[in-house]
Assembly symmetry: C2
């Protein structure tokens, strides 16, 4: 590490995007003007050109993804369930407006339909315009893209309709708040087919400890204690870098016992994945003791 210059969020506030919970903050330096800035009916959507992370999408000053490290999140939320469930045909994705999760799903020719429900079309538009490597699969004919409220959608959906549901939300403020409630997950559970699985963006045990523990308890209420499995991902551009996803099964699928290492390794190689591999799949479920205790609370 070198300190080539005194630049810091303190001295050049107009060059740094800061994602803060009031006590810890991550800042990323960017060039010139914002590439995209729009106050949608729901939130402020922006795209920045950063110095070291490529282009970066933010919502209300919270980092959603950067070109540099988005693979960690998108690969782990997608391939962990896909490499354990042998027959996923119909997928529902809530949120995920940047398109990265869709891109990873579309690598599987066995998937027949993907329904994506994103509440804010500005996020999709920003990503299509400025993040082409992330939004690259919006044209796939298997995709039905709905700009709509995910909470209402799952409430109205038919029982037992999906093999896999991915809840790829932003943090529980603003429009995503309802994605962190028990009634929402009861609907998710209901519209999942028997034997199906979900993965959920489940916040950071270090940066959002309260949201993390509450969501974990909520998921255990709905799916049952033994069918909820927290796993961890290194995401350098999320504050504290320590983030969690959660795998829940309606049935007996288990993220490690129903996992074919050789097949996963082959898949990761064939597709040139950047973060996910068979070792990382297994390792992600090994929680440091203090986090294990947070999930047992």
């Amino acid at each position: 590490m070198t300190h080539p210059e005194p630049a810091s969020p303190q001295t050049h506030p107009h060059e740094w995007l800061t994602d803060s919970n009031g006590q810890i903050a991550l800042s990323v330096r960017f060039r010139g003007d914002r590439l995209f800035q729009e106050q949608s009916p729901y939130q402020t959507v922006e795209v920045f050109d950063t110095y070291s992370c490529g282009k970066m999408l933010t919502i209300d000053n919270m980092v959603m993804c950067t070109e540099w490290d988005e693979a960690a999140y998108h690969e782990m939320i997608t391939h962990v369930p896909m490499q354990t469930h042998p027959t996923v045909k119909d997928v529902l994705v809530i949120g995920a407006g940047d398109g990265g999760t869709i891109r990873e799903l579309m690598r599987y020719s066995t998937i027949e339909t993907v329904t994506m429900v994103e509440i804010d079309e500005a996020v999709i538009r920003a990503s299509k315009e400025w993040l082409p490597t992330i939004s690259s699969a919006f044209g796939d004919p298997r995709l039905t893209l709905l700009v709509d409220d995910g909470i209402k959608f799952v409430h109205d959906a038919t029982d037992a309709s999906y093999d896999l549901i991915i809840i790829d939300s932003s943090d529980p403020v603003g429009p995503s708040e309802g994605l962190f409630t028990q009634s929402f997950y009861e609907d998710v559970h209901r519209i999942l087919r028997p034997g199906g699985v979900i993965t959920v963006q489940s916040e950071s045990p270090s940066f959002n400890a309260k949201a993390f523990t509450e969501l974990n308890a909520c998921l255990k209420q709905v799916f049952g204690r033994d069918r909820v499995h927290c796993y961890l991902v290194f995401i350098p551009t999320y504050p504290t870098g320590l983030w969690s996803l959660t795998y829940c099964a309606k049935g007996d699928l288990h993220p490690l016992q129903n996992f074919d290492r050789a097949q996963a390794e082959q898949f990761a190689e064939t597709h040139g994945l950047r973060y996910y591999n068979a070792d990382v799949h297994q390792a992600a479920f090994c929680l440091p003791t203090y986090i294990r205790k947070m999930t047992e609370g």
Copy 2:
């Protein structure tokens, strides 16, 4: 996550400590005045009282440790080698002025001597005064504490003197720069007993990619490609949260093949460790693909 207030590093520069590489920065909010501030002959040593991380030690604005998450670093740099080497009697520690590594080592009654060489007595003094839970083992009679230059110490030390050497340095600027050179590690290798191991603070693949890859290559030169094993730790208060340690063997010890899971799990429970457990020991060596490639360079 909630945003209770607009406070950020940008708006209240006197309340935030910022650790930056010029492009990405982590900021931690603190109360009132610094608890400790001293310009030593080597660097600026400070202790802050933070809002969410307890007391925090910094050197030249780089976070060394906080009471909240120091266990991750200190447990992983110590117990990974200790749980694989069955007969560690004599240990050398370079750096580690806060005392956390010593505290972890002293949990092993089988260790007979620990020699610690820290160049800056101000770091030791700051920790003893303000971080009592971290500096708690400085009084152990097995410890020989030398305030001296670690590079000179290893150069002058006798061949084959130590079973375990821990290089617990700050980043490669200022007095720690020489701890990132091949001649230093050639001395370390020489003074290690046959069959001995070392662990090294080996920087962040995301925040200090150049230092990380260079040190990895250097260690492979000295120890041999198959005897260098990078492992990862989540450290929320280090910028990007993604940090590496490296295990190197002079001989055939392997961090996973020579690992007794049951014994490690028992040890972690008996001592009430906060981060380390048998699962985490194994998982830490599973590298995301892009980091695996960085170490294969």
